[in-house]
């Protein structure tokens, strides 16, 4: 700390020092940024880029237990895995379920998160602290833990929810929709805090004069939100939306634990769990990889939309 304080003091003292852009004219500057970047690039290259390449490669091969153990030579299948996958009615069913489930999760998370962020700005310190702490608790709960706790809450025999709602021994995980609904509740519970805290931090950064001026001009609460806050919060809203899309599209743990690996007869499978089951349970590594490639492409498309949004906002990279 002392170092930086003296440095600040000296900046003030040496106010007349010639301004010079760092990174220009200093010896060794050409290589310094790459030196700083080297560890990140090595790690990302080895553990992200190379595996992506491998994923694509395996998806074009015949790769099952026989090839992995070396019993049979690997052979090139071209688009064989993809035609097999796309020709399978099951894949389309899982894809549709994944998209709908992720969309429901994202919308619910955003609505709950934003509503509670606005609520946080309207209350005094004590209720705000209570809500903030509860939300941080939900956020901190590991996915496996949260999954089992929600299962107990909704357990047909021992759970409090059925008692309170008077549902008798209704099983939530038995039906397809109710099982998805239960997982959705858990996902929203553990992911709304990120949205709430981020949006709350964003609202606090909006100068209160702006809001006061709006309310003096007679704007309604809805109008203030719609015409003043929302536009100022747009960058934040874009970030939390995209993050939620990414997280909710690849939910694994909650589905796997709460529906016992994809539900009765696979009725609650999503792409991620489906790929895992194909690869590690059925040793169909190449089919699992093809599913992985499909997921990658979908999220890449989302990314491109995100990039365009950022660009349109004039965000400087």
């Amino acid at each position: 700390m002392a170092v930086q304080e003296t440095a600040v003091a000296r900046v003030a003292a040496a106010g007349a020092a010639t301004p010079r852009t760092p990174g220009r004219g200093r010896r060794g500057d050409r290589w310094t940024p790459w030196l700083y970047l080297a560890p990140a690039l090595v790690v990302l290259g080895g553990l992200l880029v190379y595996p992506i390449y491998q994923l694509g490669l395996i998806s074009f091969l015949e790769y099952t237990q026989a090839q992995v153990s070396g019993g049979e030579p690997t052979s090139f299948r071209g688009f064989g895995n993809y035609t097999e996958l796309l020709g399978d009615g099951r894949f389309w069913q899982v894809l549709l379920a994944t998209v709908l489930f992720a969309a429901a999760c994202v919308v619910s998370t955003l609505v709950v998160g934003c509503a509670l962020a606005v609520l946080l700005t309207r209350v005094r310190a004590l209720p705000r602290l209570a809500l903030m702490m509860a939300a941080l608790g939900a956020w901190a709960t590991p996915a496996v833990t949260g999954s089992t706790v929600w299962l107990l809450l909704f357990d047909p025999d021992f759970g409090p929810v059925n008692r309170v709602l008077g549902l008798g021994d209704h099983s939530w995980t038995y039906g397809r929709l109710s099982a998805f609904f239960l997982v959705l509740l858990e996902v929203v519970w553990c992911s709304f805090p990120f949205v709430m805290v981020t949006v709350y931090a964003g609202i606090r950064a909006v100068p209160s004069e702006v809001l006061e001026a709006a309310s003096l001009d007679g704007a309604s609460q809805w109008r203030i939100w719609h015409s003043v806050l929302a536009p100022m919060l747009r960058p934040i809203l874009v970030i939390v939306t995209i993050q939620s899309v990414i997280w909710d599209f690849k939910v694994f743990t909650q589905i796997y634990v709460m529906t016992g690996g994809g539900g009765i007869a696979g009725q609650n499978l999503v792409l991620n769990v489906y790929a895992y089951q194909e690869a590690f349970a059925s040793s169909q590594y190449s089919l699992g990889s093809a599913i992985g490639v499909v997921m990658l492409l979908i999220l890449l498309a989302v990314t491109l939309v995100y990039l365009r949004l950022l660009r349109r906002q004039g965000e400087e990279l």
Binding site: V3, L119, P127, M133, V197, G292
Partner: protein, 286 residues
């Protein structure tokens, strides 16, 4: 200062509304906290009570039986240490690497800088779970299966892009004149980096570390896929599932293990809470 940054705009809300808002905030807080309350409660319920078909929201005879069963289970303590080692290594290593990279992309102008930034952004979107299969073969080829390394390495890689992206704002916020002054005073680049920039960016590193800690501590898929034969190298999520058999779950054990697993993260969150809120604000304001 007070004028610019007042927490809530006064005069916007009339009194009865404020009261209603506060009551609902407290109610919602109770609902959100309820699963955690039920988890801890169930962990302390004595054996017979948790299997009661008329569950009570309190217990008259709190017992440590479930915790004894959990810690009596072979190697549970070891799983706990393994999880801590994985999460802490990921947090520290990725924070250091991300700090260097964020410095490079914010404080230098060089060719391919924008390209790199876009690549980091795109890398954030990669569904890491989809890479389980190639990573499995990669870890096998490097003899890393059944080691903690197979959990640490991928999580470092996956938390990096987000960490770099988030830290960018913090590094940018440090005035360039500070760097000038340091050099004028004869500081070397390394000295500036570690003794001046690093402490200034530290709050941002804390906020970032929340995300890497959570992703590593939560990891279930990699532990399930990469730790296949040597269970002494396993982590807490797998230990938890020892008690959770879909047909006959030991709810007391599951809830006790869940409580033990959640507490370190809760402590971590409480410690960094303030930094987290200001960090997220700082990162998104940018």
């Amino acid at each position: 200062m007070n004028l610019v940054r007042r927490n809530r705009p006064r005069g916007l809300v009339r009194r009865p509304w404020r009261l209603a808002a506060e009551v609902s905030a407290l109610l919602i807080a109770a609902v959100v906290a309820f699963p955690l309350y039920w988890m801890v409660l169930s962990a302390f319920k004595p054996a017979g009570e948790i299997e009661s078909t008329r569950p009570r929201p309190w217990t008259l005879a709190p017992s440590l039986d479930s915790f004894r069963r959990v810690f009596g289970q072979q190697e549970f303590g070891r799983y706990f240490v393994n999880s801590l080692v994985v999460a802490c290594t990921v947090v520290i290593v990725s924070a250091l690497i991300a700090f260097l990279a964020a410095t490079a992309v914010t404080r230098f102008r060089f060719r391919f800088r924008t390209t790199l930034l876009i690549m980091f952004l795109v890398a954030q979107m990669v569904p890491v779970e989809a890479l389980t299969i190639p990573l499995f073969f990669l870890m096998r080829d490097f003899g890393q299966l059944n080691t903690l390394g197979s959990l640490i390495l991928p999580h470092i890689a996956f938390s990096l892009p987000f960490a770099i992206w988030m830290l960018r704002g913090f590094v940018k916020a440090v005035p360039e004149s500070l760097e000038e002054a340091a050099y004028i005073d004869g500081a070397s680049r390394a000295r500036f980096l570690w003794q001046i920039l690093f402490p200034l960016v530290f709050p941002g590193l804390v906020a970032t570390s929340v995300f890497s800690f959570i992703s590593a501590w939560n990891d279930f898929l990699f532990a399930k896929s990469f730790i296949i034969s040597d269970t002494s190298q396993s982590t807490l999520p797998m230990a938890l599932l020892v008690f959770y058999k879909p047909d006959e779950p030991d709810w007391g054990g599951v809830m006790a293990a869940s409580t033990v697993m959640t507490i370190p993260v809760l402590i971590f969150f409480v410690l960094v809470q303030r930094r987290l809120v200001s960090g997220l604000g700082g990162a998104v304001k940018d």
